[in-house]
């Protein structure tokens, strides 16, 4: 096994959109049999082949940190969650295709995670206004995933997919729409699997990756 460096990707989204099912699908290639409330944060590990098929192929662990909660929580809950946002390398934003509010809340989720990093003094910018400028110089790659695709009737699919395409464009990110109970959507070679690989490959410089955040907790990171 090649050198396995540490890469941390956050999985964010409203309660009940399917983050735990998604993480289970990505890491175990199986459907999650008994989904239940995520209290705090649950981590799972996916083995990823960086630059698969090329001579520079290396294998990495990608840690998927699935942080539970609601975007409108009290400030104390947000500061408790903030401890998980340190040293992150990528963000997967998950929304429910059947619930428009969960898509709108993604802006606030991304601000919460990114602002924590940019201002290591711990000041949370909570006015929640979305400003594209803040994403312009963002170095952390984003991916937007829409879940519960099977629950959308065929007739409405087009308008839903148009809406999510706009959403992904706002974040300057790729988007994948799937149903977390069906491994078929991420089968090897499908366009979704290719997008996923491309996203993980985008995580900057596996060997010389930038460290974000810091302060007192920096010393906790040990290999």
């Amino acid at each position: 096994m090649a050198a396995l460096d540490r890469v941390k990707v956050l999985v964010l989204g409203d309660s009940g959109v399917g983050k735990s099912s998604l993480v289970h699908l990505l890491c175990q290639n199986q459907m999650l049999g008994n989904p239940s409330w995520t209290v705090g944060c649950s981590v799972d590990v996916r083995i990823h082949d960086y630059k698969e098929g090329t001579p520079e192929e290396k294998t990495y662990y990608i840690e998927l940190w699935d942080v539970g909660g609601s975007v409108g929580s009290a400030t104390s809950v947000k500061s408790t969650r903030a401890v998980f946002y340190n040293l992150l390398n990528g963000i997967i934003l998950v929304h429910d295709l059947t619930n428009k509010k969960s898509s709108q809340n993604l802006y606030r989720w991304s601000l919460e995670a990114l602002n924590r990093d940019v201002a290591p003094a711990g000041v949370l910018v909570t006015n929640g206004d979305y400003d594209r400028e803040q994403f312009a110089d963002n170095q952390i790659p984003l991916l937007v995933i829409g879940t519960k695709l099977d629950q959308i009737p065929e007739t409405k699919r087009n308008e839903v997919l148009t809406r999510t395409a706009f959403l992904a464009e706002d974040f300057n990110a790729e988007e994948i729409n799937l149903d977390c109970t069906n491994p078929r959507y991420l089968a090897a070679g499908s366009s979704n699997a290719v997008k996923l690989s491309r996203f993980f490959d985008k995580i900057p410089g596996f060997t010389e990756r930038k460290r974000f955040g810091g302060g007192a907790l920096k010393s906790l990171h040990y290999d």
Binding site: G16, V45, I47, Y61, T75, V83, N105, L220
Partner: protein
């Protein structure tokens, strides 16, 4: 003619209340969810509108607005509609939405919903048996039967909420009970949490690597399922898989630990925020208020005990008694009839407004705490049911706070209920609820500092 004017006034006010309930639903309760079934929103707003109309009628009774006979008519009408909603519509829809959440019963949704509603009606009826609430000369389907049962449930709810609220209010307001939390405590706990997460990650990496090597070697790791699988696993156990299941158990234990640590950290953050709040001007004001509330709470518990022990039900309402005291002992002469009307209007108004506001806030908190995207409809309907029953029983109990001349309309409309029973029942449940809340808060308070000592 005047009847038409009165009715139009009532209808306008009902529409206003309906609109308010609608807005409250959209802005507060369903802030984070998408409303897909509008029938839920309609039912909630309708329940709210009719409950508020009842309070409005009480106020009109005191102030003498509208014609007496039209008031009586509207009372009866309102009561019928509310009972219809609380006993027939809301339980049926609760059953319907519960059934639609379960995938298996999708086909015969209506059938199962009706079955659930019939079970509810059975238990609802049986509720009346152990209580001495009715004189036997009433028929089966009279309003009194339904109201008495709704009243019992509602009064129990009111007493539970009020007992808990009376104890919890000073506990949260007063800064005397705040535990001392320093930044160092929080940092230490966060460090432990992250260390636990790191340990989970390293163990999961080992599991992932083991899976991958087994997959690449062509052994597909099958968990033994079924009867034959178990027999097979006894004789042919792969060494790797045993190791893996051991690591998996360790991971499960660590995950449980991480959840505990997360909850404790969240608790510490919340306490720290409360400490900072208590240093502000608003915080100090609430602190002082908390002392007054604790005195009030002790007094209420004392009065409830006295009422039960001496089997005493107050005959005169506080307004008349207050006026009697001022007239007799302090010698201040003033027009009793005029002032009693206005003072009771203010008193009853305050009681109504605070109980509505308190109930809505409590409902919102409950809703945020327990709802999820699947169960939000059911929970909102349950809350509408609770709200309706609560308001109906408030009307029952408010009768005691009003002077005699205004009580008659309520007595007439609600029929011959044993009002004294309801007050006694309220006192009993209030006492039980307040004492158990004190015990519960004491235990919770004691337990928390010990946990931090152990760090």
């Amino acid at each position: 003619m005047s009847f038409l004017i009165d009715s139009s006034i009532m209808v306008t006010s009902q529409v206003l209340f309906f609109g308010f309930g609608w807005l409250f639903f959209m802005r507060q309760l369903f802030k984070d969810y998408e409303v897909r079934q509008y029938v839920v929103q309609v039912i909630f707003s309708v329940t709210f509108a009719f409950s508020c109309t009842m309070f409005e009628l009480i106020i009109f009774e005191i102030l003498g607005v509208l014609n007496s006979s039209s008031r009586y008519f509207h009372w009866k009408l309102n009561l019928c509609v509310i009972l219809l909603i609380l006993v027939f519509m809301v339980p049926f829809y609760i059953g319907y939405f519960v059934v639609s959440n379960i995938r298996l019963l999708h086909r015969q949704k209506l059938l199962f919903a009706c079955l659930l509603w019939l079970t509810f009606m059975y238990f609802f009826w049986k509720l009346g048996d152990p209580f001495p609430i009715l004189s036997p000369k009433h028929g089966i389907l009279s309003i009194e039967q339904l109201i008495s049962r709704v009243g019992v449930i509602g009064v129990t709810l009111m007493a539970l909420l009020s007992g808990f609220g009376a104890v919890n209010c000073p506990y949260t307001y007063m800064s005397y009970f705040l535990r001392n939390v320093t930044d160092a405590d929080i940092l230490a706990l966060e460090r432990r949490l992250l260390q636990t997460m790191d340990m989970i990650v390293s163990k999961k990496k080992r599991i992932a690597v083991a899976h991958r090597t087994m997959f690449q070697r062509g052994e597909v790791h099958n968990k033994p399922t079924g009867f034959w699988g178990m027999i097979k696993s006894v004789t042919t156990s792969v060494a790797g898989s045993e190791n893996l299941s051991l690591i998996q158990q360790e991971v499960d234990a660590l995950e449980e630990l991480s959840r505990q640590l997360f909850l404790e950290t969240a608790d510490l953050h919340a306490t720290k925020e409360r400490i900072e709040y208590s240093k502000t001007f608003q915080g100090k004001y609430f602190n002082v208020l908390g002392y007054f509330f604790s005195i009030y709470c002790v007094w209420k518990i004392f009065m409830a005990t006295i009422n039960i022990v001496f089997d005493r039900v107050g005959k005169t309402d506080p307004v008349t008694r207050g006026i009697e005291i001022t007239v007799n002992y302090l010698g201040i002469q003033f027009d009793v009839k005029f002032w009693s009307q206005h003072i009771s209007f203010i008193l009853v108004g305050i009681i109504i407004v605070t109980s509505i506001r308190g109930l809505l806030i409590t409902l919102t908190k409950f809703f945020y705490a327990i709802s999820s995207s699947k169960s939000s409809n059911v929970i909102v309907l349950l809350l509408a049911q609770i709200m309706g029953m609560y308001f109906v029983s408030s009307v029952l109990l408010i009768r005691m706070s009003m002077p005699l001349e205004y009580r008659t309309i309520i007595t007439e409309v609600l029929g011959e209920l044993q009002f004294n029973f309801y007050h006694r029942w309220f006192d009993v449940i209030f006492l039980v609820s307040a004492l158990s809340s004190i015990l519960f808060l004491y235990l919770a308070h004691k337990q928390a500092p010990e946990k931090h000592m152990a760090l």
